[in-house]
């Protein structure tokens, strides 16, 4: 004979996965997300591909060749007309703006009095680009006065990139900290989304049992805590089912993208594995892949995935149980979904805080006081700690004591919050009528 908890889990699971809107969402979501990405990419493309045409009225003797067509800007030259007339024509021709350089004794003076006239406030990007042109010419000019030739100047202007390496002598690449935080943040974000989506499902399911008045029939057979737990587990299993379906479909999509774009994944993997540390000898066999790509791939493979995924599961389970039991308590406290808002907002707040604070502070300093504090505080640690963990444990990563303390605090909070939530739940499911205040909720804890 199946235990009561199993029966409840099974019912909640089936009720959820058989629900029409759940099925529709499972199928539609990946399509919607891919569609959104494509749409955003397309719109950005359309937005950016608009080429701005700027009219130039250059009455000075300088800067005649520098205004060349670039990616998003092109120029029309006006000659021998007054400024007023030039403004008029610019307007009439519908050009973006008019750049005016008055006569000047030298470049410095002409530049100083140059103006950009536009209809609306000019785009920062455009202004910066124009300023760049002036600046480069001015610098060359000033250096010329100091005796630097044009050839020497172009040598000076050659871009420079710092070579990066770790103490062990491995070449490292830029932006890897951010990438790591992004990967951790991705896990954290997944937890947040899961909590909000499926926590709300738990809450709705509790409200449904209240409004359909079946609740008292059920809790005359099982303990309210069993029902709450079964509901949370059943709903989250349904959620995991949905996530797995999404992951598989994402995998298939990714595979198709790889096939279509023709990236040779096996070659990439082979490269990454054949070059542990020493970068010297590989150049001769080098595939067309750039060194940087391999480096990034290796760094990503070097992330402690086992640790990350284990902690993800741990933080996920505990964090989800904490939040969903709060959601269940909220569902029990009210009679309909419209009454839930005042209670739900304070629940979502720490989650949002975790995501934003996490993204800002962990990015700039993964071991700063804010990042450490938020990764220890139980309501935010499932998200923030996961952002810090891709750097590993111990040296250079999260100190072990912090990880252990964070987990201990989370378990403590889990026990405390779930038992409080269960008390509110137990009283709330049998209360009908008015919406309770926070004061009343506190009173319920003593019933």
């Amino acid at each position: 004979m199946a235990s009561k908890l199993q029966l409840i889990i099974k019912r909640e699971y089936l009720a959820k996965v058989r629900n029409k809107s759940f099925i529709v969402m499972t199928i539609l979501s990946p399509i919607l997300i891919v569609g959104m990405i494509v749409l955003i990419a397309y719109l950005t493309e359309v937005n950016d591909s608009e080429k701005r045409i700027v009219a130039v009225l250059n009455e000075s003797d300088f800067l005649h060749r520098e205004f060349a067509t670039s990616e998003n800007m092109s120029f029309v030259q006006f000659h021998d007309i007054s400024l007023e007339k030039a403004k008029d024509s610019t307007n009439n021709m519908g050009l973006y703006g008019l750049l005016h350089l008055p006569k000047g004794e030298n470049l410095e003076q002409a530049s100083k009095q140059a103006h950009l006239y536009t209809k609306d406030n000019p785009n920062t990007h455009i202004t910066q680009q124009l300023e760049g042109i002036f600046q480069k010419k001015l610098r060359q000019n000033r250096l010329g006065h100091l005796g630097v030739s044009a050839e020497q100047f172009s040598t000076i202007e050659k871009p420079f990139e710092l070579n990066l390496a770790t103490f062990e002598g491995e070449k490292s690449v830029k932006g890897i900290t951010e990438i790591k935080a992004f990967i951790g943040g991705g896990f954290g974000y997944a937890i947040m989304m899961f909590i909000i989506i499926y926590g709300t499902f738990v809450m709705r399911s509790v409200i449904e049992e209240k409004t359909s008045r079946i609740i008292e029939v059920i809790i005359s057979s099982v303990k309210p805590f069993q029902l709450m737990l079964g509901k949370i587990i059943g709903t989250s299993l349904a959620g995991i089912t949905q996530f797995v379906i999404w992951l598989i479909s994402a995998g298939i999509l990714l595979f198709m993208v790889v096939l279509i774009s023709g990236i040779d994944m096996t070659a990439l993997m082979a490269e990454v594995q054949n070059t542990p540390g020493a970068m010297g000898g590989m150049s001769q066999f080098s595939t067309p892949l750039s060194n940087d790509t391999i480096l990034y791939a290796r760094e990503i493979l070097n992330i402690p995935w086992v640790l990350l995924i284990t902690s993800f599961l741990l933080y996920f389970v505990l964090g989800y149980l904490i939040y969903s039991s709060i959601y269940a308590a909220i569902g029990a406290a009210v009679d309909n979904e419209t009454d839930t808002q005042q209670f739900v907002f304070p629940v979502i707040l720490p989650l949002m805080l975790a995501i934003y604070v996490g993204f800002f502070s962990v990015f700039s300093n993964p071991h700063g006081p804010i990042a450490v504090g938020f990764s220890l505080f139980p309501l935010t640690s499932p998200i923030v700690m996961l952002m810090r963990l891709p750097a590993g444990i111990g040296e250079g990563g999260v100190p072990l004591w912090q990880l252990l303390l964070s987990i201990a605090l989370l378990i403590g909070a889990f026990l405390a919050i779930v038992s409080l939530a269960a008390k509110i739940y137990r009283v709330g499911i049998l209360m009908y009528g008015k919406r309770p205040t926070y004061k009343e909720l506190v009173k319920w804890l003593r019933y």
């Binding site: 004979m1 199946a2 009561k4 029966l7 409840i8 019912r11 009720a15 629900n19 449904e208 049992e209 359909s212 008045r213 079946i214 008292e216 029939v217 059920i218 809790i219 005359s220 057979s221 099982v222 303990k223 309210p224 049998l430 009908y432 009173k443 003593r446 019933y447």
Partner: protein, 312 residues
Amino acid sequence: MDHILVAKDVSKSYGEHPALSNISLKIPENCIYGLLGPNGAGKTTFIRIVNQITYQDTGSVLFKGKPLAPEHIAQIGYLPEERGLYKSMKVGDQALYLAQLKGLSRNEAKKRLKYWFDRLDIGDWWGKKIQELSKGMAQKIQFIVTILHEPKLLIFDEPFSGFDPINANIIKDEILQLKEKGTSIIFSTHRMESVEELCEYIALIHKSEKILDGKLSDIKKSYKNNIFNIGLELDRNADDFLKMIRDQFQVLDSQYDPMEKQLDFTIQLPSNNTTGILSQLSQQAKVNRFEETVPSANDIFIQTVNKRDNGK
């Protein structure tokens, strides 16, 4: 006499508000026990304690002589006043689920459900969803689910609300049959008229306190107050006759039908001794009715509550 349930000095309060104060009840086995009182008196709280949905602050509850424990849940069936079913779940699945929660195996539950669905003539609802059924239909399913695990103690909280008269009768007959088979039944209601024909024992609960309990017939006896209904076939003038009666007794109500020559009246006798008046009446007219009025449960309830409220 064996008792299925004994409550001793059970108290429960919600914050400052007392829901039950020192309630002691003895519910005999194999009877229908009426738990009566107005809304908010504490009946539901008591029932919830018996069902272990909530717990008393002080006092004890014994089930078949043993303190109430989780394993007793399978021997209790409860039809709450606030009742319902999952709206979007199929009737059969739902009934199976609830039966299994009460500890029945799936196969056993299926077998019994089939029996009851056929018995109440609702076999073709198995695959329907609750939202497709009327309220009365859902109540029938709820009733089946309550009794399916053949509990020793059945608790019905306002069982007839939501039923039309025909179905209420069907359910009433089922309840009586369950009692015949040996089930003890607690019947909680604020509608006193439904009590008379069903309950052998009653307890009155008012403002969290028990104010009266015992065998209904005994209670009724003790509340009799020597009022009699009398019917006579009268050949002479009714007014003269009534006047003569009024000289001796207090007449509460009278009615004369000259066509049928029938005089009906209600009198208050000074004591329960009826020999004198009966012989006097039968000498002067043909007595075709002479009965003592028995107070209804409703009268008793109102009287007791008033007495208590005034006494305070």
